[in-house]
Each structure stands twice: as C-alpha cells, then as structure tokens.
Symmetry: C2
Subunit: 599 residues, 2 copies
C-alpha cells in the first residue's frame, strides 16, 4: 500500500465521479489520454516516494538555519527539488505557450498532491513559484516576462508572495512598504515584510519576490496598493546576475510545522537601494495579486487534504498490522490479540478520516475541473455559471479541509495511541504541517465573511442558484439508485435551509450582526457541499457496482458506506448551526471585552 | 492579567458555584479557612509564575537527552522543582497522618493547576509521584511504607507507574513482565516497560517504580497481574542507598509535546537481578493500581483544562492588545485599526474557549468536591450516592476536556494567526502538550466503553438516577431566575434523551454492536454534563448579580453569556449524536478492512 496516494481512488474520482475523459477530448488537452496520464502519475509517485518521503521527518527535525545572513538547508532538500526539476515537473502547471505541460489542472493537482503528501515543506517552494510565474504571465510587461518568466517556469529561480507586514496580516489596507518611482520605470522599495515563505533559501541563485507596496501620494487603504516584482539579485541586460538588490533577511520564524519551508522577515532596501518593477498598473496591486487567488486557495485546500491523506493511509496501515485487545464478545485472554482495525472505535476513526478526506478531495478536483472547463469552454453562458459556482465554492475549498482534514490528522494520531504522539511516527508531524492551512491565504474568519457577506449574496444570489442546479443534477442522476433516495432528500432539505439562512442574513440591516456567525455558516455550507460530493461518489459507486466489476466490489461498498456515514454522522450537524445563523444569534457578538474574565 | 490563573473565577467556583465553605466547616479540613487558602494560592501563583512559566518554551525546545545510559535535563527543571519542594508543596496532596497538608482535594487541584498551566512537563514528575505515594499508602505493607513513603511524600524520590509494554497498551491482559519469587519476600522482575513517564531523570537520587508484572503459574489475563514496588537504586536497611537495581534505560520516546517529561523504555533485570516488592496481594495488581484511578483520570482532565487555560488567557490578552482591521460597518482606511478582540469571529473563538474551559473546570472541581465529601462525610447512603456519581462522571472528566479543551488550544492558535503558528508564542506548544491527554490513562475509546458499557448500566442505572437527581437540584435552584428557564428545559430534554439512549443500548443483545458508537455517546453525555455545569454557574452568577455586586457585574454577565453560548451553540449537538447511538447505527461497525481503500 502506498503511503501517499490511493491510485484506485484517483481513477475513480477522475473517470467515474468526474469527467476527465470529456476534458481530454477537448482541443486544449488533446496531447493527453488516460494512458499517458497514468504513466505520468506513476513517474511522479515514484519520485515522491523515493526522493521526497524518506527525509520528511529529518527535514522537520532539521529546519533551515539562519547562518551568516543567509539560510542553510539540509542537502536532501536540494536533491529532492533537483529530482522534481529533472523530471520536468516544474513546468506542470503552465500552458504550452510559456513552455508548460498544459495539463488539465485537475491532473496537475493530483500529480503535485503526491509530493505534498510525501513532503509538503519541499513542495511549498515549488507551489509558490508557480503562483508568481502565473501572476507575472498574466499581469507583467513583456520586458519583465522576457527576463524572469522562463527562469521561474523552468524552476531555475524560485518566487515568493510578499503581502503581510507585522502590523498588516489580514488587513492589507495597512501595508506600509513604500515604492518610490526612480524615473526609469523602476521603483525604490523600502519596508519590511513578514511571514514570507521561501523569502530566503540556498536552493536557487535568485529569488523573485512579488511585493505589495504603496506609491506615495496614492489613495488610502487597499485602493493604493501596487504590485512589484523585486529580485533578490539584480539581473543584467544579458540575463546574467548582477549585484545584490538589498533584500535583507532579518529573521526566520520558527513554526509549529511545515518547518522545512523557510518563513522569513525581510527588509527591503536595507543597506542600499532595492529596485522593484511595477507589475500591472499602479494602485491595482491587490486585484493583480488576487488574480490567481481561486487557484491558490484551492491549492491550500488540496494541501490540507494531502497532509490528512498521509495520516489516514499511515494509520490505516498501522491499524491493519497492530495486534491489540480482543473482540468485546467472549473476551478470552488466551486467544491471540486481534488487529486494532477490527475494533469498532478504530473503524469509526478510520471511517471519519476517509469521509473527510475523500469528500474534500472530490471537491478539490471538482473545483479544478471547473477551472479546466473555464479554460476550454467556449459557451459564455456556461462559463459565467461555472465562474459563479467557482467563486462560491472557493472559500469552502480553502476552509473545509483546513478544519476537517486537520481533524482527520488528529484522529490518525489517536489510532496510533502513544506511538502516534511521538516524532518517531509521521502522524503528529502531519498534524503540525496541516495546522497552517487555516491561517495562510486568508484565515478561517476571512473566508467566512467572504462566503456569507459576498459570495452567497452576489448578483442576487446567482451563485447559489447555480449551486442548486448542479446539486439537483446529481440528485437526478441518483434517482435510479433507490438506496440513495434517503441521502438526496436530506441534501435538498439542508440546501433549502441554507438558502433560507442566506435570505435571513441578507434581510438584516445591521451588517455586522448579520455576519457575526459567518464562520459557523461557512462550516455548515461546507458540510452541505461535501455531502453533495459524497452523493456524487455514491452515484458513481452504484453505477460501478451495477456494471458488475467484482474486483472493485469492496472499493465501491466502501464509498457507499462512507456516503452513509457522512449523511448520518456529519450532515445533521449543519442544521443546528444554520439555525443559529438564521436567528442572528448575538451571544458572542454582544460580548464586551471585560466580560471574558471579569478583569 | 495573570497568564496562568483567573483568581476571580477560582473564587467564584469555590464559594459561589460550589460549596467549599461547607467542606471547610468539617472536622477534616478545620485547619483551613478561606483566608489561609487565599494566601496559599497567592504563594503558589507567585512560584508558578516566577519559577515554572519563564522556561516553559526553553524546556520544550531542549528536551531531556539520553547521555551515558542516563538522562540529562536543563538546570531550570531542577531549580523549579526545588522551589516547589522548598515551599512544602510536595506534601499538598496527602493526609496529615503521613505528613501531608490535608487540603481539600479541590483546592489541591487548583493549587497544582497553576503549575500545570505554567509548565506541565515539570509538574508531571510531581503528579506521578503523588499517585505512587498514595497507592503505596493504601496498598503497601508497613515495611515498604517505612522505607519509601516519606521519601515520596517529601519529594526526595520520585515515582512512576509502569503499566504498558510495547505489545500491551490498552490491553493490560497481555502484560509479559515476569516476577519470580526469590524466597525472602522479594521477586525477581524481568521484562520491558514502554511509555514510562519519568522512568529516568537526573532530578532525584532514587526513583520508585510501581510495576505491573505476572507471577509465573498465575491466572491468564488481567487476573494474573500483580503490583510491585521496584526501586531504581536498592535501599539498605538503614535507609541509605545501596547498589543499582538493574533498571536500565533502553531509550527515550520523543514526543509531540510535553517534552520536558522524560518518556522511557525501561528494561527491568538487564545486566543483573532486579528486585521488586509485592504491593498488596498477588494477582490483585490491577485493582491496586486502579485504586487511585478516579483521581488520576480527573487529574488528566484538569491538566487538559490547564493547558487550554494557558492558551485562552494568552490569546485573550493578545486579542485585547493587537490592532488589526476595522469594524465591518463603515470601513475607513484612514481610521485607526481596532483591537482584534472587537471582531465578531475573534469574540466567537474567545467565547468558545471560555465556555469549554470554564465548563470543564467546574466539572473537575465538582468531581474533586465529591472526593472531598467522600472523605469527610459520615452518611453511608449519601456516600454511596456520591460514589456512584463519581464513577459515572470520571470518564467524562478524563475525556471531555481532552477533546474540547484541546479544541480551545486550536482556537487560541487561530486567534494569534501566523504568530500563533510559531514557537515564539506559547499557544502552539500548549496545543502539543494537551494532545497527550486523550491518549494516556485510558484512551478516548476506552473511556467510551467504560461509560456506556459499564457506568451507565451498573446497578440497574443507579448512577444515572443520581445524576438526574443532582441535575434536578440545580434546575430547582434555577427556578427563581426566569432567564434560565429556557436552559433548564433544554437540559432536561437532553438528559431524557440520554437516558432513553442508554435503555436502547441496554436492550440490544449484540453487545459489540450496542457499544459500537460508545465514543460518540461519551461525547454527547459530556456535553449534557457540561451544560449542567454551566447552569450551575448561571445560577450562581444570577445570585451574584441580584446581590448587587456592581464591581463584578461584567464577570457575572460573562458567565451568563457563556451559559447562553453553551446551551445555544453546543448542547444542540448532543441530539443528533444520541440519535445515532440509540439507533444502533452500524455504518462504521459493518465496515470491512478492505472497504477503506479497496485494496
């Protein structure tokens, strides 16, 4: 059993629950067929298992060090990145016109997911670089692209996103980093950026920072933010590296997990001029930076799924091979111990992990499929529908796995008992890695405000209407399988309650009160969407069973059982939560600071 | 604001929500009055803040090392223990007849709780020693007590509990360590024990291990387990230390958290004879070891509450002093940022922590009060009632805080955002420390089987009947406060559903199926008991408000708000959970191993 992927499940999601075949039939993805993708996934699985997974614990225990103003990482990190690069995988996430593989993004997510599962801190450097390259490709000038793009695409240089400052995390309006024009199209960048992942490293000769800064005299708040490309080392006209651009490493943050990725405090313009180049127009920095935000947030969700998958597969393997205790009925101390996977509560913990992880995984792939469709589809009406749905699903993609796949990691520890609590086993590390995902790329609370305050209400609820249509489509396809009728009814009931909740919130004139329970709404909406994803899987599994594929019987039965689990054990939780939101419960909102402790 | 205790809340729980005054009026505790206890708490708070708290992060980052067959700890650890010892606190948990302070156990829990909150890994050595001394005092021979007891009580030697082996964690029936009589009342101990906290250290000259082992020829399973006292260093007739007793440190486990406490693999009888002394009778080892189990499990719950309290107080202080963002209504980027404690979702996360922690804390004190009453009460009928109730509450005391106070730690990280994810702040460490509590002293699943399979059903439901009587008493006292009527009705409704669920479970002939959802039942029963604890606090707060204590208005209003929060946001969750249990849902139970991944 692989500890980083369930290939049978990938096939199921791609070709049975979703419709990758349809995408592959489009012009855009005509270079690929199922056989080619299978071979590619196998290559990736091998590299991830052989070059990424083996040193994940070592990297965690030996995080990058601040040495002589720079960073020193363990040699395995560079070797792993070289293996990834030599397989050409740095180009997996780009279109052919800039030298990329032009894969369906759904496949790219699965392919990179194996590396994330094996050793997320290594992959983070690669993931960030892809975001920077795509941003540059969409918003940058030809001159900037000429100098920087292929270096990023090929993985010769890595990229970073520099948004936060010590006083401005979620509140980007308060960014203070300054960009003063110097006349030749360049800007002098000065300021300090905090939480910059990959901000310094010893893996690539140059680092390309994408920096949010304010040009003096611009509008206050987010409207005055511009985006700049700031290289660590200046690049000469011939493309060779020049002198230092005075981006100084001021310190490393020491994290709970994901320790192999440096996280830095950077001073721009310390000890000399730091030159940046405008990307897009002045004062449009936020929208340029956020151009790739749907993708970035889905990738965060995917990372959460992958860290959880690592814990699930490990704890499942452990439970199948660890003898302990006996069946409750007729305990006989002379009888041999049974495997713990036979204990009901261990089954519950494994099932919970399965239901959370595979439910979330399908949502990630479904959302990726929308992105692929948006890239290949020519029907403007359908594109608008799908685009609305994607916007609505994005905060759920970001948050639901960050909450429930983290819970899965917690259960993986519990399955291993005392062993799970030690660093000799990977499950606690995977929990620590995963705990990041609720924080970066927009915190949990930010996602709640986004979905309830914006996405659910935009264009008079147009996105919710698309959601209902799509869910109805799944319910229609479930109609032929009588065992699923119970689930369909519950799903429609929950969806209706969600819609009514949105209406109650929209009718409230006090917007602060209306959104006071937004995070709870996000949680409940996530449960409804994941229930939908399980119904999709149940339909596909029922069809698979009907097709009489005996070898897959256990696999399909497991999918149907997990669907039942999610609908019985999880979905009912959304009801009480939505009631609170619809009632505009103000219990927390009304609380004054002094009331917490009385002093 | 102290970061380890809310003294106002301690007072509230002791003297308003509970009845410490009544205990202090008994003969047993007549040495103490409120003033004396206040002074003692202040001394403890000072020592905990000055000697324990400051190096908690350093101890976490510099865990004990395996050096030359022994253990090396950082010097601060011994200094802290000396400060605790010099204040006479090692004797806090014992009766006067063995040199103890004979405090109400409720007060002892609060007093030691401050040290746990400040630096739990240090306190663990002390906590374990207390358990060993109490076990020896109750079950040991006069000769053993003569040699060992005062050394343990004074904290000159520390103690450990040696139950688990690599193949026998939850399943003690499979213990293999052997104890062969050597003729003079001693036994030759041979075997390997795993997960032994404090099994080796450089803090005391001797270590007293309490070891479960089997005398050859005894019954199979748990019925053949005996308890032995095994010193690390043999003790001469005059009480001086003799030669090594051949307890060899085979390795240290490297834990996710609680790193300052060594956790060891010990070989007994490696390289020479290891002599142990029987404690109690042969084959009665398990019941002797479990003699203090209620107390030990409540202490685990208390530790979970304390680790969470550390996170709560830190995140509350942070939120009150961290500017970020603006009110949703009328955002103006030129306006100064507000403190994040004013954001609704931050309030929700702080309130959730408060509700979980203070609810669980009252349950710990309430249970401790029962233990105190059992020690001072002379009415046999009442003693039996209270004893039943304590047995019923114990698995909840152990598990509910391990789940929900851990959740509180997770939220404390979230309140701090990126900062919370770094080791420069204490909140992630407190999470890691707390994650242990669901595992040791009986895992979560074990507690579930205990409460549903045993405690709820024992003596024809006699314990549940006592629970109902006690809850009814609280509801009666709430009757004078009309605002609480809504809560009382919900509580009775939930309790009734719980009782019906137990009946449905008891009626099921397939005991394995009946208990398949035991952990979920435990979770729901815990919510109902914690709701009761909040109703108790609401009654006391209402009375406090009526008494017109203006200075405390915020404090009392906060209690009422937290009660409302728990009844609205949390208690409703028990309904769906109990429905599953009563329905004997077999979704997880029916799952076969192959169905998880299909391969």
């Amino acid at each position: 059993m692989s500890l980083i992927v369930n290939r049978r499940d990938l096939d199921f999601m791609f070709y049975e629950a979703l419709d990758l075949d349809k995408l592959l039939a489009t012009e855009r993805y005509s270079d690929y067929d199922r056989e080619a993708l299978d071979a590619m996934l196998t290559v990736c699985q091998t590299i991830a298992e052989d070059e990424f997974l083996p040193f994940a614990a070592k990297l965690d225990a030996n995080e990058p060090q601040f040495v002589d103003g720079g960073v020193k990482t363990i040699p395995e990190l560079k070797l792993a990145i070289n293996a990834y690069k030599e397989a050409g995988l740095c180009t997996s996430g780009y279109d052919a016109d800039i030298g990329g593989m032009q894969l369906p993004w759904m496949v790219d997510q699965a392919l990179n997911g194996m590396f994330v599962c094996a050793n997320n801190p290594v992959h983070t450097y690669l993931f960030l670089t892809q975001g920077v390259a795509n941003m540059l490709n969409v918003c940058g000038s030809d001159a900037l692209k000429e100098t920087y793009l292929s270096k990023l695409v090929e993985g010769d240089w890595f990229g970073t996103m520099c948004l936060s400052e010590t006083q401005a995390g979620s509140s980007l309006a308060d960014v203070r980093t300054k960009a003063e024009p110097v006349g030749d199209g360049g800007y002098k960048i000065s300021g300090t950026k905090m939480w910059i992942s990959g901000g310094e490293q010893d893996l690539t000769e140059n680092i390309v920072h994408m920096v949010l800064a304010k040009v003096p005299g611009g509008p206050a708040g987010v409207k005055g933010i511009s985006l700049f490309l700031v290289p660590k080392v200046r690049v000469n006209g011939d493309g060779s590296l020049g002198e230092s651009n005075n981006v100084v490493l001021a310190g490393l943050n020491h994290k709970m997990g994901n320790r192999g990725t440096t996280n830095t405090l950077l001073n721009f313009g310390e000890g000399g001029d730091c030159i940046g180049y405008l990307v897009g127009n002045e004062n449009e920095g936020l929208s340029n930076m956020f151009h790739m935000m749907n993708e970035a947030r889905i990738s965060v969700g995917q990372a959460a799924v992958m860290s959880a998958l690592g814990g699930y597969l490990y704890s499942l393997d452990y439970a199948r091979n660890r003898p302990q205790g006996r069946h409750l009925a007729g305990k006989n101390p002379d009888a041999p111990q049974i495997m713990i996977s036979e204990h009901a509560d261990i089954k519950r913990m494994l099932m919970t992990q399965k239901a959370f992880i595979e439910g979330a995984q399908l949502l990630m792939f479904y959302s990726a499929q929308i992105i692929d469709e948006l890239r290949s589809c020519t029907d403007d009406v359908e594109k608008r529908r799908m685009s609305l749905l994607l916007d609505l699903l994005t905060p759920i993609c970001k948050s639901w796995p960050s909450e429930y796949c983290l819970e899965a990691n917690k259960l993986a520890i519990q399955v291993l008992g005392g062993y799970g609590y030690t660093r000799e086993y990977p499950v606690e590390r995977l929990y620590r890695d995963n705990r990041l995902n609720h924080i970066h790329e927009g915190t949990w609370g930010i996602q709640g405000l986004d979905i309830l305050g914006r996405k659910m209400q935009m264009h008079n609820g147009a996105a919710v209407a698309v959601l209902r249509e799509e869910i109805q489509g799944t319910i229609d396809s479930a109609a032929g399988h009588s065992a699923l009728a119970e689930h369909s009814a519950k799903l429609i009931g929950a969806l209706t309650q969600m819609e009514e909740t949105v209406q109650a919130v929209a009718a409230c004139e006090d917007k602060s009160l209306a959104l006071a329970n937004a995070t709870i709404f996000l949680d409940a909406a996530g449960h409804i969407v994941i229930a939908w994803m399980w119904l999709k899987q149940a339909v596909a599994a029922s069809e698979g069973l009907q097709a009489g594929n005996v070898a897959d019987r256990d696999f399909y039965e497991g999918k149907l059982a997990a669907t039942k689990f999610f609908f019985r054990y999880e979905l009912p939780k959304s009801k009480a939560a939505l009631t609170l939101v619809a009632d505009l419960d103000s219990t927390c909102y009304d609380l004054s600071g002094a009331q917490f402790t009385g002093v």
